[in-house]
Point group: C2
Protein backbone atom coordinates (compact mmCIF):
# COMPACT_ATOMS: atom_id res chain seq x y z
CA UNK A 1 0.00 0.00 0.00
CA UNK A 2 0.99 3.53 -0.57
CA UNK A 3 3.11 5.20 2.03
CA UNK A 4 1.68 8.59 2.75
CA UNK A 5 4.76 10.71 3.16
CA UNK A 6 4.51 12.03 6.64
CA UNK A 7 5.82 15.43 7.65
CA UNK A 8 8.64 15.71 10.12
CA UNK A 9 8.53 18.09 12.99
CA UNK A 10 10.99 20.86 12.57
CA UNK A 11 11.87 23.72 14.80
CA UNK A 12 11.19 26.12 11.97
CA UNK A 13 7.63 25.02 11.47
CA UNK A 14 7.05 24.99 15.19
CA UNK A 15 8.23 28.57 15.60
CA UNK A 16 6.33 29.78 12.56
CA UNK A 17 3.12 28.38 13.95
CA UNK A 18 3.80 29.73 17.43
CA UNK A 19 4.45 33.21 16.14
CA UNK A 20 1.37 33.16 13.97
CA UNK A 21 -0.76 32.07 16.89
CA UNK A 22 0.53 34.85 19.07
CA UNK A 23 -1.28 37.27 16.84
CA UNK A 24 -4.89 38.15 16.48
CA UNK A 25 -3.97 40.07 13.38
CA UNK A 26 -3.08 38.45 10.11
CA UNK A 27 0.49 38.90 9.02
CA UNK A 28 1.93 38.50 5.57
CA UNK A 29 4.61 35.93 4.85
CA UNK A 30 7.35 38.53 5.01
CA UNK A 31 5.91 39.93 8.21
CA UNK A 32 5.98 36.52 9.82
CA UNK A 33 9.44 35.97 8.42
CA UNK A 34 10.66 39.01 10.33
CA UNK A 35 9.14 37.72 13.55
CA UNK A 36 10.44 34.20 13.17
CA UNK A 37 13.86 35.57 12.37
CA UNK A 38 14.15 37.08 15.79
CA UNK A 39 14.08 33.59 17.21
CA UNK A 40 15.75 31.72 14.37
CA UNK A 41 18.07 34.21 12.72
CA UNK A 42 19.07 31.90 9.89
CA UNK A 43 15.61 30.91 8.75
CA UNK A 44 14.95 31.59 5.09
CA UNK A 45 11.95 33.22 3.52
CA UNK A 46 11.51 30.18 1.31
CA UNK A 47 11.11 28.02 4.38
CA UNK A 48 8.46 30.33 5.74
CA UNK A 49 6.52 30.11 2.51
CA UNK A 50 6.91 26.35 2.32
CA UNK A 51 5.73 25.81 5.84
CA UNK A 52 2.84 28.17 5.60
CA UNK A 53 1.69 26.33 2.51
CA UNK A 54 2.08 23.00 4.28
CA UNK A 55 0.10 24.19 7.27
CA UNK A 56 -2.63 25.45 4.98
CA UNK A 57 -2.80 22.07 3.26
CA UNK A 58 -3.05 20.38 6.62
CA UNK A 59 -5.86 22.69 7.57
CA UNK A 60 -3.96 24.00 10.55
CA UNK A 61 -4.02 27.61 9.41
CA UNK A 62 -5.86 29.62 6.81
CA UNK A 63 -4.61 31.67 3.93
CA UNK A 64 -6.40 34.91 3.16
CA UNK A 65 -5.95 35.56 -0.48
CA UNK A 66 -8.54 38.25 -0.95
CA UNK A 67 -6.19 40.60 0.72
CA UNK A 68 -4.51 42.71 -1.88
CA UNK A 69 -1.09 41.93 -3.17
CA UNK A 70 0.43 39.94 -0.33
CA UNK A 71 -1.37 36.95 1.09
CA UNK A 72 -2.11 37.00 4.79
CA UNK A 73 -2.32 34.13 7.20
CA UNK A 74 -4.72 33.30 9.97
CA UNK A 75 -4.00 30.93 12.84
CA UNK A 76 -7.68 30.53 13.56
CA UNK A 77 -9.39 28.06 11.26
CA UNK A 78 -12.89 28.43 12.60
CA UNK A 79 -15.24 30.06 10.14
CA UNK A 80 -15.16 33.77 10.62
CA UNK A 81 -15.03 36.88 8.52
CA UNK A 82 -12.55 39.69 8.15
CA UNK A 83 -12.24 43.38 7.70
CA UNK A 84 -9.52 44.94 5.62
CA UNK A 85 -8.14 48.43 5.54
CA UNK A 86 -8.17 49.69 1.98
CA UNK A 87 -5.35 52.09 2.72
CA UNK A 88 -2.73 49.97 4.46
CA UNK A 89 -3.91 46.42 3.82
CA UNK A 90 -4.16 45.52 7.47
CA UNK A 91 -6.71 42.82 8.25
CA UNK A 92 -8.55 42.00 11.42
CA UNK A 93 -11.12 39.50 12.48
CA UNK A 94 -14.67 40.63 12.43
CA UNK A 95 -15.95 40.55 15.97
CA UNK A 96 -19.19 38.74 16.72
CA UNK A 97 -18.92 35.51 14.78
CA UNK A 98 -19.61 34.91 11.13
CA UNK A 99 -22.24 37.00 9.48
CA UNK A 100 -25.05 34.91 8.22
CA UNK A 101 -26.07 35.16 4.64
CA UNK A 102 -29.80 35.52 4.21
CA UNK A 103 -29.64 33.24 1.25
CA UNK A 104 -28.37 29.90 2.45
CA UNK A 105 -29.23 28.12 -0.75
CA UNK A 106 -26.30 28.75 -2.98
CA UNK A 107 -25.65 25.19 -3.87
CA UNK A 108 -24.31 24.90 -7.38
CA UNK A 109 -24.73 28.39 -8.72
CA UNK A 110 -24.49 28.42 -12.48
CA UNK A 111 -23.05 24.97 -12.62
CA UNK A 112 -20.43 25.64 -10.01
CA UNK A 113 -20.06 23.20 -7.16
CA UNK A 114 -20.00 25.57 -4.21
CA UNK A 115 -17.52 24.86 -1.45
CA UNK A 116 -17.68 27.90 0.78
CA UNK A 117 -17.41 31.63 0.80
CA UNK A 118 -15.21 34.50 1.82
CA UNK A 119 -16.65 37.68 3.19
CA UNK A 120 -14.43 40.67 3.69
CA UNK A 121 -15.56 44.06 4.88
CA UNK A 122 -13.62 46.96 3.48
CA UNK A 123 -12.90 50.05 5.45
CA UNK A 124 -10.32 52.37 6.89
CA UNK A 125 -8.56 51.25 10.03
CA UNK A 126 -8.24 53.50 13.08
CA UNK A 127 -4.62 54.31 12.42
CA UNK A 128 -5.10 55.31 8.80
CA UNK A 129 -8.17 57.19 9.80
CA UNK A 130 -6.17 59.26 12.22
CA UNK A 131 -3.35 59.92 9.78
CA UNK A 132 -5.89 60.98 7.28
CA UNK A 133 -7.51 63.68 9.34
CA UNK A 134 -5.98 66.90 8.10
CA UNK A 135 -4.39 65.97 4.84
CA UNK A 136 -7.59 65.67 2.91
CA UNK A 137 -8.95 68.78 1.35
CA UNK A 138 -11.65 68.30 -1.24
CA UNK A 139 -9.15 66.85 -3.65
CA UNK A 140 -8.55 63.31 -2.50
CA UNK A 141 -8.94 60.67 -5.21
CA UNK A 142 -10.76 57.39 -4.71
CA UNK A 143 -8.88 54.66 -3.01
CA UNK A 144 -8.76 51.40 -4.86
CA UNK A 145 -10.69 48.28 -5.25
Amino acid sequence: MSHRKLPRNTRQREVILEELRKLTSHPTATGLYAMVRRRLPKVSLGTVYRNLELLVQQGVIRKLEFSGSEARFDGNTEQHDHIRCVRCGRMDDLGGGPLELTDGKHHDCDGYKVLGYRLVLLGVCPRCNAERAGEDAEASPGEEE
Copy 2:
Protein backbone atom coordinates in the same frame (compact mmCIF):
# COMPACT_ATOMS: atom_id res chain seq x y z
CA MET B 1 -6.53 77.42 -8.02
CA SER B 2 -5.18 73.99 -8.63
CA HIS B 3 -5.59 72.52 -12.05
CA ARG B 4 -6.77 68.98 -11.71
CA LYS B 5 -4.87 67.19 -14.46
CA LEU B 6 -7.57 65.83 -16.64
CA PRO B 7 -7.22 62.57 -18.57
CA ARG B 8 -7.15 62.64 -22.32
CA ASN B 9 -9.28 60.34 -24.33
CA THR B 10 -7.25 57.78 -26.13
CA ARG B 11 -8.21 55.08 -28.54
CA GLN B 12 -6.45 52.55 -26.33
CA ARG B 13 -8.49 53.29 -23.27
CA GLU B 14 -11.65 53.34 -25.32
CA VAL B 15 -11.00 49.92 -26.78
CA ILE B 16 -9.94 48.45 -23.46
CA LEU B 17 -13.18 49.56 -21.88
CA GLU B 18 -15.24 48.35 -24.82
CA GLU B 19 -13.69 44.92 -24.75
CA LEU B 20 -14.11 44.62 -21.02
CA ARG B 21 -17.76 45.57 -21.29
CA LYS B 22 -18.39 42.95 -23.93
CA LEU B 23 -17.82 40.31 -21.32
CA THR B 24 -19.90 39.04 -18.47
CA SER B 25 -16.88 37.17 -17.24
CA HIS B 26 -13.96 38.84 -15.57
CA PRO B 27 -10.76 38.71 -17.54
CA THR B 28 -7.24 39.18 -16.30
CA ALA B 29 -5.06 41.99 -17.59
CA THR B 30 -3.24 39.65 -19.95
CA GLY B 31 -6.52 38.20 -21.14
CA LEU B 32 -7.82 41.65 -21.97
CA TYR B 33 -4.49 42.49 -23.54
CA ALA B 34 -4.97 39.63 -25.99
CA MET B 35 -8.43 40.84 -26.90
CA VAL B 36 -7.45 44.46 -27.29
CA ARG B 37 -4.53 43.41 -29.42
CA ARG B 38 -6.80 42.00 -32.07
CA ARG B 39 -8.05 45.51 -32.63
CA LEU B 40 -4.93 47.49 -31.80
CA PRO B 41 -2.04 45.18 -32.64
CA LYS B 42 0.64 47.50 -31.28
CA VAL B 43 -0.86 48.12 -27.89
CA SER B 44 1.41 47.29 -25.01
CA LEU B 45 0.68 45.35 -21.86
CA GLY B 46 1.88 48.30 -19.81
CA THR B 47 -0.76 50.48 -21.40
CA VAL B 48 -3.43 47.97 -20.56
CA TYR B 49 -2.34 47.92 -16.94
CA ARG B 50 -2.10 51.69 -16.77
CA ASN B 51 -5.54 52.21 -18.21
CA LEU B 52 -7.16 49.57 -16.11
CA GLU B 53 -5.71 51.21 -13.04
CA LEU B 54 -6.93 54.60 -14.21
CA LEU B 55 -10.42 53.30 -14.84
CA VAL B 56 -10.47 51.72 -11.41
CA GLN B 57 -9.47 55.03 -9.83
CA GLN B 58 -12.22 56.76 -11.74
CA GLY B 59 -14.69 54.21 -10.48
CA VAL B 60 -15.58 53.14 -14.01
CA ILE B 61 -14.59 49.53 -13.52
CA ARG B 62 -13.78 47.27 -10.59
CA LYS B 63 -10.68 45.31 -9.78
CA LEU B 64 -10.92 41.90 -8.17
CA GLU B 65 -7.64 41.09 -6.55
CA PHE B 66 -6.11 37.94 -5.18
CA SER B 67 -2.74 37.54 -3.66
CA GLY B 68 -0.42 35.40 -5.68
CA SER B 69 -2.59 35.20 -8.75
CA GLU B 70 -3.72 37.53 -11.46
CA ALA B 71 -6.18 40.30 -10.73
CA ARG B 72 -9.41 40.27 -12.65
CA PHE B 73 -11.50 43.16 -13.86
CA ASP B 74 -15.20 43.80 -13.89
CA GLY B 75 -16.93 46.28 -16.16
CA ASN B 76 -20.00 46.33 -13.96
CA THR B 77 -19.63 48.57 -10.94
CA GLU B 78 -23.01 47.92 -9.44
CA GLN B 79 -22.78 46.05 -6.17
CA HIS B 80 -22.89 42.37 -6.87
CA ASP B 81 -21.13 39.27 -5.71
CA HIS B 82 -18.93 36.73 -7.40
CA ILE B 83 -18.10 33.09 -7.51
CA ARG B 84 -14.61 31.88 -8.12
CA CYS B 85 -13.29 28.52 -9.25
CA VAL B 86 -10.65 27.36 -6.83
CA ARG B 87 -9.06 25.21 -9.51
CA CYS B 88 -8.68 27.51 -12.50
CA GLY B 89 -9.36 30.95 -11.05
CA ARG B 90 -12.24 31.69 -13.36
CA MET B 91 -14.79 34.12 -11.95
CA ASP B 92 -18.41 34.74 -12.72
CA ASP B 93 -21.09 36.99 -11.41
CA LEU B 94 -23.40 35.53 -8.89
CA GLY B 95 -26.84 35.47 -10.41
CA GLY B 96 -29.75 36.94 -8.50
CA GLY B 97 -28.44 40.23 -7.20
CA PRO B 98 -26.32 40.80 -4.15
CA LEU B 99 -26.86 38.51 -1.22
CA GLU B 100 -28.12 40.37 1.74
CA LEU B 101 -26.24 40.16 4.95
CA THR B 102 -28.48 39.46 7.88
CA ASP B 103 -26.45 41.88 9.88
CA GLY B 104 -26.77 45.25 8.23
CA LYS B 105 -25.26 47.12 11.10
CA HIS B 106 -21.55 46.86 10.58
CA HIS B 107 -20.78 50.48 10.83
CA ASP B 108 -17.39 51.02 12.35
CA CYS B 109 -16.38 47.58 13.48
CA ASP B 110 -13.49 47.75 15.91
CA GLY B 111 -12.73 51.32 15.05
CA TYR B 112 -12.77 50.74 11.30
CA LYS B 113 -14.79 53.06 9.16
CA VAL B 114 -16.65 50.56 7.00
CA LEU B 115 -17.00 51.37 3.32
CA GLY B 116 -18.37 48.21 1.81
CA TYR B 117 -17.81 44.52 1.47
CA ARG B 118 -16.72 41.81 -0.88
CA LEU B 119 -18.43 38.49 -0.92
CA VAL B 120 -16.97 35.70 -3.01
CA LEU B 121 -18.31 32.19 -3.19
CA LEU B 122 -15.70 29.52 -3.75
CA GLY B 123 -16.35 26.48 -5.82
CA VAL B 124 -15.43 24.37 -8.79
CA CYS B 125 -16.58 25.56 -12.18
CA PRO B 126 -18.39 23.29 -14.62
CA ARG B 127 -15.37 22.81 -16.84
CA CYS B 128 -12.99 21.88 -14.04
CA ASN B 129 -15.65 19.68 -12.59
CA ALA B 130 -15.86 17.75 -15.83
CA GLU B 131 -12.12 17.42 -16.24
CA ARG B 132 -11.93 16.15 -12.75
CA ALA B 133 -14.29 13.26 -13.17
CA GLY B 134 -12.06 10.25 -13.75
CA GLU B 135 -8.65 11.42 -12.74
CA ASP B 136 -9.35 11.41 -9.05
CA ALA B 137 -8.65 8.16 -7.37
CA GLU B 138 -7.88 8.47 -3.69
CA ALA B 139 -4.41 9.72 -4.47
CA SER B 140 -4.91 13.14 -5.99
CA PRO B 141 -3.24 15.94 -4.12
CA GLY B 142 -5.20 19.05 -3.28
CA GLU B 143 -4.69 21.73 -5.81
CA GLU B 144 -6.32 24.90 -4.71
CA GLU B 145 -6.26 28.12 -6.46
